[in-house]
């Protein structure tokens, strides 16, 4: 559809505008390169995180065939934090696995992938993709993962805890810049690894039966895409910390804006909206609220209300 492409281009230009203004607004030209040095990694991190969240949430929704569930609502980022804390808990802060940022990150990703694909595919199978159950279990799991994480922290050596805190509380004002390059590369690699599976998403929107009927190996593809989602969420959480409802906002705005089933368009739309929301939000936070309120607070409040609206709207039909 030509109309959708025009909308995409419009979104793209808005994104470019917000990126440019974030990067160059109020720059003191006497210290130009210094300002760039400060702002560029942050900008890059936000773009990578936005890509991860926008991309993976939409994939996840198609797998589970519902538009109000996102990986974050099912506790994926809580799981990531738990994995990270457990790693420190088991090996101690002095261990080379933890001190080497890259190694720690890779370990986190590996453990996360194994645990998440096991846990979530088990839950999906047991509940037969019943969204209400999945959502309920997800909420419980979020709490459970967070509680286990808290217990571990309490039982931890105070020195370890102190050091851990610095890496654990990634947020928009404290972006984990050390791993930005590896995250960027990983995103690209993942994109190409899972490209073939992503191409099957259009057919998978028709549901399990129709997808199998049309020759898709549904169960295998679902598993692969679940791993893909998990990795992207882990990357985003490692970079900027957990932002619940972000995925919900981007995917649903994308679906309302582009009335189509085509994932090539929906995915681009979702990613662009994520970038736009994050960067514009951060711009406002930095220059209007002068860092007094982090952008994730706005996103959570707006997203929470939006979530309620969507649930109430959908419950007229069936969830």
């Amino acid at each position: 559809m030509a109309l959708n492409h025009i909308k995409l281009i419009f979104l793209l230009s808005l994104c470019t505008l917000s990126i440019a203004s974030y990067q160059f607004i109020f720059v003191n030209f006497d210290f130009f390169s210094f300002a760039m040095q400060l702002r560029l990694p942050k900008l890059l991190a936000m773009c990578v995180a936005a890509f991860c969240i926008g991309y993976s949430s939409l994939i996840f929704q198609t797998i589970i065939n519902n538009t109000i569930v996102t990986p974050c609502l099912l506790g994926m980022n809580a799981l990531y934090l738990l994995v990270h804390v457990s790693l420190v808990f088991i090996f101690g802060m002095g261990s080379f696995i933890v001190t080497n940022t890259y190694l720690a990150f890779i370990c986190d990703l590996l453990v996360m992938t194994v645990v998440a694909s096991f846990v979530y595919s088990y839950i999906f199978k047991k509940t037969k993709y019943n969204v209400l159950y999945v959502l309920l279990i997800g909420t419980v799991m979020t709490t459970m993962f967070t509680s286990i994480q808290n217990s571990l922290i309490r039982a931890m050596d105070p020195n370890d805890y102190d050091a851990l805190l610095a890496t654990l509380t990634a947020s928009f004002s404290n972006i984990n810049i050390k791993i930005i390059s590896i995250c960027f590369v990983l995103c690209l690699v993942l994109y190409f690894i899972f490209k073939k599976d992503i191409a099957k998403l259009d057919v998978m929107t028709l549901g399990r039966h129709n997808a199998i009927n049309l020759g898709i190996d549904y169960d295998k593809t679902t598993k692969r895409l679940l791993i893909c989602t998990t990795l992207y969420i882990a990357i985003a959480t490692a970079l900027v910390g957990p932002i619940s409802f972000m995925g919900l906002i981007t995917t649903n705005i994308a679906r309302t804006l582009f009335k189509t089933y085509k994932h090539s368009i929906l995915l681009s739309g979702s990613v662009l909206i994520a970038i736009l929301v994050l960067i514009t939000g951060q711009l406002i936070v930095e220059h209007i609220f002068t860092y007094s309120i982090p952008v994730s607070v706005f996103i959570t409040i707006a997203g929470g209300l939006y979530f309620l609206y969507l649930v109430l709207k959908q419950s007229k039909g069936n969830i």
């Binding site: 065939n65 028709l206 039966h209 009927n213 049309l214 020759g215 190996d217 009335k259 089933y261």
Partner: protein, 250 residues
Amino acid sequence: MILKNLSKSYDGKFVVTDVNLSLPENKVISFIGPNGAGKSTVLNMISRLHKKDSGQIIFKGKELENWDNNELAKNLAILTQHNNIQSKITIKELVSFGRFPYCQGRLKDEDEQKVIQALEYMELLDIQHKYLDELSGGQRQRALIAMTIAQDTDYILLDEPTNNLDIYHSSRLMKLIRSLCDKLNKTVIMVLHELNYASFYSDIICVFKQGRLEKVGNPTEIIQHDFLKEVYQVDFNISHIDGKPLCIHF
């Protein structure tokens, strides 16, 4: 298609027990039987939607599991009752998905033609650009059937195709199924609840009860008072129209 000792159980309870069946080509075959008789489960196993526990399904001389998924999709199409499609998708786009096994989403002229043909068959041409969520249950069902037709397979499996359809559309559908078989040499296997549709439009009827295959035969052999009474536990009144048995059970 040949089924040998086909069985399936859920939680230790057999829903399909030891089904042996040889289905000829170019026929309309109906599965009938009371609720929970296992007829849908058999259909789902034939179409690889459900895994079988034991037994063999031999399709075109090759065991079903050994088929390549995409190749199988060109030979066998299934339409079930579970269709919860949430995406914004128009009828034409849905029907175009029927061509996916052939073109992986990039439609050529030939595919386009088949899509139009299928839309025509199901009288959907005038509403082809409507979104699926704006349709009534019957229109949706017709759109899904059109997708199955566009898939252009030798075997078409339908799980209660007349569900949601009014009398006009269900009798039209049955006539269409007949012509798919007679003119285009397709094999249609379907689960039906209406005995008279089965009697009037199928060549072979397979009767299931409690997971077992009770009887296979042509309509005259199956639609018999004592046999049906035993299967359904309901009294039937059987008469004949145009040489075909008609049963009434009110």
